[in-house]
């Protein structure tokens, strides 16, 4: 990062504020925590029998299979919630105050990202705890586990950039559906319930070209202790980070330009 | 109902509303409204005007006291009360997604206007409140004044005998305000409708009302015709400014002859509240002349309803806020 002390100083202040805001506000904490658990429960609980259908060959059981999806989904949605926070701040005029006060404006963005990562870590911790309690079978060693968490945080960063780009342009919480719906769509057009080979034809085609599919698949591999498709997954998220990062930074310029 | 019971359009005795988790909003008020009269119910924010209207229109059961509207008891004969009244409440209760004509269609049906007459009745009322041009536009796009006028028209659908208007002109520009005043006057004069109208504006009560009731913190502090109320506060007062400040002592002395309440005002001025039968401004001028006093400025002040309010409550009406009203209301309720 080339912003120097200005960047980190601002980032730390903004991160502290929005993290503090998050943990002290039940209306923000509860949905962020409960939604992933809800999906985990509904999928892993309700559909587990589907692993007895022919061709379903994931070795670690259905709970672990769905955990691989829900973990990534939770971190992606954490990124969307970050966008909500930015939009709310700008709507209330707080964002404008930050812009006036901060010597380094990219630091503001950095601060939001850092708090988003902290939140994602909190949610993931909860998910792991519940997953293990539910008797999930994890075969990964420590480096694989760290890689898994790293991948999830990287995705959180990418989606956070996406949502920030929208939030900074619209600066209104009304843009919420615009941040949320595409993320929802792209996540559910991956192999959510079954391995890709078992999808029916058209979704299989969509899933093949969906950049999030390799991420979900790598997540499942890591839980099963394998490294299949890891590079592709990081490359896909890297590309998203680049794309949405540009959008967020130009969004910041847009917010600056409009005062 | 016997005819004698309907001598008054509205009779209220000891009407009270104590909200369960709120203040004693209306504290045992008494009032009477004659048939065909425009009654102005004047008071600051939070005084209890809307609460009174809600009770009289049967939308809120009173917690104490009795009231008859159109000769019917508001607590026991709600249905009959509703059949003789029309109301436009403080918030214009309209559906943003319907047009004025659709509102009319629904309202005429619900009020039991015979089917063949509904359309004509609706169009006539829309025309009368000046919304003919906008009749097929959705109400969501209306201005505040247009909404108010539609609300009024809807209240008139079934030709009510008694009309309740809760702050009908709040938020309107002067032009819309005076056209609404004209319509209200027309209803009272031409159709003999009784109008019970709440307002925060002195000017409105003064101009429109045959009689005024002033409410503050849930209590009626004064009632009568505007002229009577003002007379009660006193005769007009005169203030004068001496051309030469050193003359002020003599000025005070001369003015003092015309009333018991008088005194110096600022460095070169003095005032007096004229006693009844003292001859008025003309005599004051003559006396000043006779003394050879040079006067730079001479003014006659007619008392206003604001003076009435000031006299009765010790506060100015404008800006007599809800905050103070609330607390003392609560306090009185406890100590009573």
């Amino acid at each position: 990062m080339s912003g120097g002390a200005g960047f980190w100083g601002v980032a730390r202040a903004v991160a502290w504020r929005s993290t503090h805001n998050f943990v002290t506000n039940p209306a923000l904490v509860l949905p962020a925590m409960i939604f992933p658990l809800f999906f985990f429960g509904a999928f892993a609980g309700g559909l587990s029998n589907i692993d007895s259908s022919p061709g379903f060959d994931y070795p670690n059981g259905y709970t672990a299979f769905e955990f691989g999806f829900v973990l990534m989904q939770a971190s992606a949605f954490g990124g969307v919630f970050t966008g909500f926070g930015i939009a709310r701040d700008f709507e209330s005029g707080f964002g404008r105050r930050l812009m006036l006060a901060a010597p380094n404006r990219l630091g503001i963005l950095g601060g939001y990202v850092i708090s988003s990562l902290i939140r994602a870590l909190m949610v993931m911790t909860l998910l792991f705890a519940i997953g293990l309690l539910a008797g999930m079978d994890v075969s990964s060693n420590l480096p694989e586990l760290v890689t898994l968490i790293g991948l999830a945080l990287f995705l959180n960063f990418a989606i956070g950039m996406w949502a920030a780009g929208i939030a900074l342009r619209f600066r209104s919480i009304q843009a919420g559906p615009l941040m949320q719906t595409p993320v929802f769509l792209i996540l559910f057009l991956t192999p959510v319930y079954v391995p890709r080979e078992l999808l029916s034809s058209w979704v299989q085609d969509v899933a093949r070209f969906n950049p999030v599919t390799p991420v979900i698949e790598a997540s499942r591999s890591l839980i099963a202790g394998s490294h299949d498709g890891l590079l592709l997954a990081f490359a896909c998220v890297g590309a998203l980070v680049l794309l949405f990062g540009i959008s967020a930074v130009t969004g910041m310029r847009d917010a600056e330009a409009s005062g | 109902m016997s005819e004698s019971a309907s001598e008054w359009a509205i009779e209220v005795e000891g009407l009270t509303q104590k909200f369960r988790k709120g203040p004693l909003a209306v504290d045992g008020i008494d009032l009477h409204v004659e048939r065909g009269e425009i009654y102005g119910f004047l008071g600051p924010n939070g005084a209890g005007k809307s609460t009174t209207v809600l009770m009289l229109t049967t939308l809120l059961p009173p917690t104490g006291g009795v009231a008859r509207v159109g000769g019917f008891d508001i607590a026991r004969e709600g249905g009959r009360v509703r059949s003789v009244i029309g109301a436009a409440l403080q918030e214009a209760a309209l559906d943003a997604h319907l047009t004025a004509r659709e509102h009319m269609r629904l309202q005429t049906a619900l009020q039991g206007v015979p089917k063949p007459e509904r359309r004509a009745r609706g169009d006539e009322l829309i025309e009368r409140v000046g919304l003919a041009e906008a009749a097929d536009r959705k109400v969501g796009g209306y201005s505040g004044g247009m909404k108010r006028r539609l609300d009024l028209a809807l209240a008139l659908v079934h030709g009510p005998e008694i009309l309740f208007l809760d702050e009908p002109t709040t938020g309107l520009d002067p032009q819309s305000r005076s056209s609404l005043w004209e319509e209200v006057e027309r209803l009272a004069d031409d159709e003999g409708m009784t109008v019970f109208l709440t307002t925060q504006y002195l000017e409105e009560a003064d101009r429109l009302a045959d009689r005024v009731g002033i409410i503050d913190r849930g209590k009626i502090v004064a009632e009568g015709t505007p002229a009577m109320l003002k007379a009660e506060v006193g005769e007009p007062s005169v203030s004068a400014r001496a051309a030469d400040p050193s003359d002020r002592g003599r000025l005070v002395e001369v003015l003092g002859r015309f009333g018991s309440a008088s005194g110096p005002e600022d460095e070169d001025a003095a005032w007096v509240r004229l006693d009844p039968g003292c001859g008025g401004l003309v005599e004051v001028v003559r006396a000043l002349d006779a003394e050879g006093l040079q006067v730079a400025d001479l003014q006659l002040h007619e008392p206003t309803l604001d003076d009435v309010f000031l006299e009765k409550t010790g506060r100015k009406l404008e800006g007599a806020g809800e905050e103070q009203g609330d607390e003392s209301g609560e306090f009185e309720a406890v100590s009573a």
């Binding site: 429960g41 022919p54 319930y193 079954v194 999808l199 979704v203 | 709600g78 009360v81 619900l110």
Partner: protein
């Protein structure tokens, strides 16, 4: 009495018009169920290979879901509309007329039934378009309409009651996730006897939505399964009886006119 009927018709007409003029209210009722149907039937097609799965076309199995999801939108919309009427005072305006509370309720529910009828026709058409089986045959179509409308009516009663309780449109909207949870923890995606996890099967068995889904589904998958249909109508009737009387009682306190 004819006057009363006429008024009910006008109230119903108004709530129908109002809904049709708010695309934001009914477009999601069309789009969301279709999206879920597409994703689920493509993603879970493999489930038809599970031994004992009742049909070999998952989309046929999943078609019951849009009907129920549409029902939850009916619930949400009728609730939001009523809550808005309370907030704006429009309910007070109607209460000032000779119309009685029950007639008012009937009118509002009637309006949402008109919307429900359109939704139902749409979902049925979707079923035929995607080439799902319809085991009950031609005679099953009126039955499907009837059941779907009865279910929507039950949902509407829940919505009206909730609105009278929460009182604002915003609070009503924020109830949405609650109904979503009910939907997901039901036999929506898997027949109840094929759910492996005991806790989930228990939840789905308790969840009344399971029976509504299974009733609709039986017409698509089995034909006339009188047990499933009886349960679906029965559960709807209970919901209607409970929530309609609760709603009527709440309306009486909301319209505390004398």
């Amino acid at each position: 009495m004819t006057g009363q009927l006429d008024s009910i018709y006008e109230v119903a007409r108004r709530s129908f018009l109002r809904s049709m003029r708010q695309p934001a209210a009914f477009v999601p009722a069309i789009v969301f169920p279709l999206f879920l149907l597409a994703v689920n039937s493509a993603g879970l097609d493999a489930a038809t290979g599970i031994p004992g799965f009742p049909t070999d076309s998952y989309v046929t199995f999943a078609l019951a879901i849009p009907f129920i999801q549409g029902g939850t939108f009916t619930l949400l919309n009728s609730g939001t509309d009523l809550a808005t009427d309370i907030e704006t005072g429009f309910l007070n305006r109607m209460a000032m007329t000779p119309l009685g509370g029950p007639a008012l309720l009937a009118g509002m529910l009637g309006g949402s039934m008109a919307i429900a009828l359109i939704q139902t026709a749409f979902y049925i058409a979707i079923g035929f378009t995607v080439g799902a089986d319809f085991a009950a045959g031609a005679a099953g179509v009126p039955m499907l309409f009837l059941l779907s409308l009865v279910i929507c009516f039950a949902f509407s009663c829940v919505g009206v009651f909730t609105a009278l309780r929460v009182g604002t449109g915003e609070a009503m909207q924020s109830m949405f996730p609650v109904f979503f949870v009910f939907l997901f923890f039901s036999s929506m995606a898997m027949p109840r006897d094929l759910i492996e996890q005991d806790w989930f099967r228990t939840v789905a068995t308790i969840n009344p939505l399971s029976y509504l889904i299974e009733g609709i589904r039986s017409l698509y998958v089995v034909g006339f399964d009188w047990e499933a249909l009886g349960l679906a109508f029965g559960v709807s009737a209970i919901l209607i009886a409970v929530f309609l009387s609760l709603a009527a009682a709440s309306l009486r306190t909301t319209l505390v006119r004398t």
